[in-house]
């Protein structure tokens, strides 16, 4: 029997992997991936909570919205990254430091 705790553990793991990706990777696409992981962790939580803790389907609905928004965000994010690549020919995060005092 898979319990709530298992879901939570997985989602937490996903969350931290996402965070780590965002912090540690220098490829911008990888960072975007990290965001997706975090969003997925949340979505997983929603579904799990909806099943085990709450007596309504709000969680399910929420996770549907999350998926849609994650897609939108990924689309916009990738578009910007591509544009950035066109301008700078790099997607190395460390080189995006023009905006400094």
């Amino acid at each position: 029997m898979i319990s709530l705790v298992s879901y939570l553990a997985i989602s937490l793991l996903l969350f931290f992997i996402g965070l780590t990706l965002m912090i540690a990777r220098k490829n911008i696409v990888a960072i975007l991936l990290g965001i997706e992981l975090i969003l997925n962790a949340a979505a997983l939580n929603f579904v799990a909570y909806s099943r085990f803790a709450a007596s309504n389907i709000d969680g399910h609905i929420f996770s549907l919205f999350v998926i849609v928004i994650a897609a939108a965000e990924a689309a916009v994010g990738l578009a910007i990254v591509i544009h950035y690549f066109q301008l700078k020919e790099t997607i190395h995060i460390d080189e995006a430091t023009e905006l400094r005092n």
Binding site: L19, T20, M22, I23, A24, R25, K26, I31, I93, D94, A96, T97, R100, N101
Partner: protein, 722 residues
């Protein structure tokens, strides 16, 4: 006699009006308005004379005029406070008024000759009028506050007159010196006024006398000192400043930078007299405060020290200036030894002969266009009237019998001798008395030296001599001198020819001066029941003496004891004879040295070379004050403080906030870059390596810095809040 405002006020208002008229319209008036000033002081003289006659005819120590009005009233509810200004004339005041107006009148008259042709002729008279009115106002004042006001107005006038020739840099220094030195005393004077006001609730003279009589001063202390001592000391400091006593004597010699008539006014009738006058007015307070030994000491030191400096002066006016300081020392000594009456008499007699001396000196200087005595000599042939007048005054100041100085000064010395030897006061008064007697030897010497060098012998500078026109009798040049010199005779003051009661002339009012000018300490009880009356001009002239006076001299009275009249008289006779001998020796000595030239002054100069050097440097007081205290101390301190204020305090403490914020900003930047980027990111990288070997060692990314901060802050918040 019934007084109204109209019968007293013109004494002050006439010269003051002259000042106002001259100040505004002086240039448009004929002769630049000098006659307005002369007329003003003349009118004042007439009124003063009328009052004097009234007092003289009343001939009572109990008689005084006290009238006052409210200057302003700040009372509200239970807080009562008003300042009354008024007029208080007693015998002393009446005599003083007569002296001031009389002497000032002649000085004014003389000035119309002396100053004629000066660029700022009109301005001179404007200031002289203000000066005189200031002094008259001070004498008329019934309270210390208005005394202080006029006191300061005189300070201003002396400042302006000393700096009259403002093209000269030296005049500028001299005027500042005069004002600032006297101001040192004034500040203390003001403090004294405050102390008295706080205790008595008023500063009018009758109120103060009443407070002393009733013992209101006892039991109060100011910063640990008994109130009477503190207040008395502060007020005496005013005297020290104004009357050029040790250690604030430095300004008076420099004051001769002004025109000579103004010196006459400062040295004789006004400024310096005001200081002694104040001490005399506040004599009961000085006594109550136990300050008399101190006062005597100051007087003695001044009398002696100034006399020694006068010995070596070559400038005609400088000799007179130091003689003034010396004579003022005698007056203060008189106050200190309880010779109240004699001190005041010396004030009057000195005013007359010193005015005359200065005017004579002015006459000489104007004729020969130099002040240096070594360039003069033999002038008696050309300046006959001046010569006569000046000799009269010299004899008077020297204390030669039959002249006024003998009457007054020798009574001071007599009293000093008495308190030093007979009154059982121990050694307290010994030194002042001794200094006084040495001074009495020096005075005739330097005065005669001056006379001999100026008028006698052969002309030393033929050019100067030839340029000097022989003098004719002129109403505004030598007539004032001659009239003033008449009053150097002692008979006017003593009532008897010799001053010791022999050959009486004034009949029943023979000892009028002695009788009328009674020490307030002796008549304090007339104020014991004094109460202020309703506002407005009080009509009371003569106060009823209370039937049963409970006032008695306090036990432990600190002043010099004059109870033993027998001993006092005895001492006076001793003193008189002693001083006659001293004077005779002194004049003879001067005669030998400067006429017969049988003694070479250079011998003495060599003998006392160190001392003479000190004398030439005026005992280094100027050096001490100007070079050491002001230049090395005050100005350096000021510069340092101003530098601190703008350079340190303002720059760092005030503008520093800006710098601090900038540093704050920079350090937050630095925090971002160093702490977060290097330690945070790299540290996390290391941590990530440990947990996940797959990830390789990474470097910081700027946006990732933000993530780090974000997470770091989150963790912090979580840690703190949960």
């Amino acid at each position: 006699m019934d007084y109204t405002i109209l019968s007293i006020a013109p004494i002050f208002l006439a010269p003051f009006t002259a000042f106002v008229i001259n100040a505004f319209f002086g240039k448009k008036l004929p002769r630049q308005g000098d006659w307005v000033s002369v007329l003003g002081i003349g009118i004042a003289f007439l009124f003063a004379f009328r009052i004097f006659i009234d007092f003289y005819s009343t001939y009572s120590t109990e008689y005084y005029i006290h009238k006052y009005f409210t200057w302003f009233d700040l009372s509200y509810g239970e807080n009562l406070f008003k300042i009354d200004l008024g007029i208080y004339i007693d015998n002393m005041g009446a005599i003083m008024l007569l002296m001031v107006t009389g002497v000032a009148f002649f000085i004014h008259l003389f000035s119309t000759w002396y100053m004629w042709g000066d660029v700022r002729y009109g301005k001179f008279f404007t200031l002289m009028s203000l000066f005189t009115s200031g002094m008259l106002g001070l004498v008329l004042s019934d309270n210390l506050l208005s005394m202080f006001i006029f006191w300061e107005i005189m300070g201003f006038c002396s400042y302006s007159l000393i700096g009259f020739y403002f093209e000269k840099e030296k005049a500028g220094y001299a005027s500042i010196k005069a004002f600032m030195t006297t101001r040192v005393g004034d500040v203390f004077f003001l403090l004294g006024i405050l102390a008295i006001w706080h205790t008595v609730g008023n500063v009018s003279l009758p109120d103060i006398y009443a407070a002393i009589a009733n013992g209101s001063f006892e039991g109060h202390t100011v910063i640990g000192i008994s109130l009477a001592t503190f207040a008395g000391f502060c007020i005496f400091c005013g005297t020290i400043g104004k009357s050029a006593q040790f250690p604030l004597q430095v300004w008076l010699p420099d004051a001769m930078m002004g025109p000579t008539p103004c010196s006459a006014l400062i040295h004789a009738a006004t400024m310096v007299a005001a200081g002694v006058y104040l001490s005399l007015r506040m004599y009961p307070l000085m006594v109550a405060g136990g300050l008399t030994p101190f006062i005597a000491m100051i007087g003695g030191i001044t009398a002696f020290g100034a006399a020694t400096i006068a010995l070596i002066q070559t400038d005609l006016k400088a000799v007179l200036a130091y003689s003034t300081i010396s004579q003022l020392g005698y007056m203060v000594l008189g106050v200190g030894v309880g010779a109240y009456n004699a001190a005041f008499m010396h004030l009057i007699t000195h005013a007359v002969f010193k005015a005359c001396l200065f005017l004579s000196a002015g006459s000489v200087i104007h004729s020969v266009h130099t002040q240096e005595m070594p360039e003069m000599g033999g002038l008696r042939h050309k300046l006959k009237f001046t010569w006569i007048a000046m000799w009269c005054c010299t004899l008077a100041i020297s204390g030669v019998p039959f002249f006024s100085g003998f009457v007054s000064k020798d009574r001071i010395l007599g009293d000093a001798l008495y308190v030093a030897l007979h009154a059982g006061q121990g050694f307290t008064y010994m030194i002042p008395a001794a200094l006084g007697f040495i001074g009495a030897f020096l005075t005739p010497f330097y005065m005669c030296r001056m006379m001999f060098l100026t008028f006698h012998g052969k002309p030393r500078d033929q050019h100067v001599y030839d340029h000097c026109h022989a003098e004719h009798l002129k109403i505004n040049q030598n007539v004032p001198l001659l009239i003033l010199s008449i009053f150097t005779l002692g008979v006017f003051f003593s009532g008897s020819l010799t001053g010791q009661g022999f050959v009486k002339i004034f009949g029943s009012k023979n000892e009028w001066f002695k009788v009328l000018v009674a020490s307030p300490t002796e008549s304090l009880d007339k104020f014991a029941y004094y109460t202020r009356e309703e506002l407005g001009w009080s009509d009371t002239n003569e106060k009823e003496k209370p039937e049963h006076s409970e006032y008695e001299h306090q036990s432990g009275f600190a002043g010099p004891n004059h109870e033993n009249h027998e001993g006092l008289h005895h001492a006076h006779v001793e003193g008189a004879f002693g001083s006659i001998i001293i004077v005779a020796c002194s004049i003879f000595f001067a005669f030998l040295m400067y006429i017969r030239r049988s003694i070479d002054p250079a011998r003495f100069v060599n003998m006392f070379s160190v001392w003479v050097k000190a004398l030439k440097n005026k005992y280094y007081f100027d050096h001490l004050y100007i070079d050491v205290i002001i230049q090395k101390g005050l100005l350096k301190f000021n510069n340092a403080l101003a530098w601190f204020d703008m350079g340190i305090y303002d720059r760092f403490a005030i503008d520093g906030w800006e710098a601090v914020s900038r540093v704050g900003y920079k350090s937050s930047n630095w925090f971002d870059r160093i702490v977060v980027d290097k330690i945070g990111v790299d540290g996390t990288a290391v941590a990530t390596n440990i947990f996940n070997i797959v990830l390789r060692l990474i470097q910081s990314g700027k946006i990732q810095t933000y993530f780090i901060v974000l997470i770091f802050m989150l963790v912090t918040f979580v840690a703190v809040l949960t």
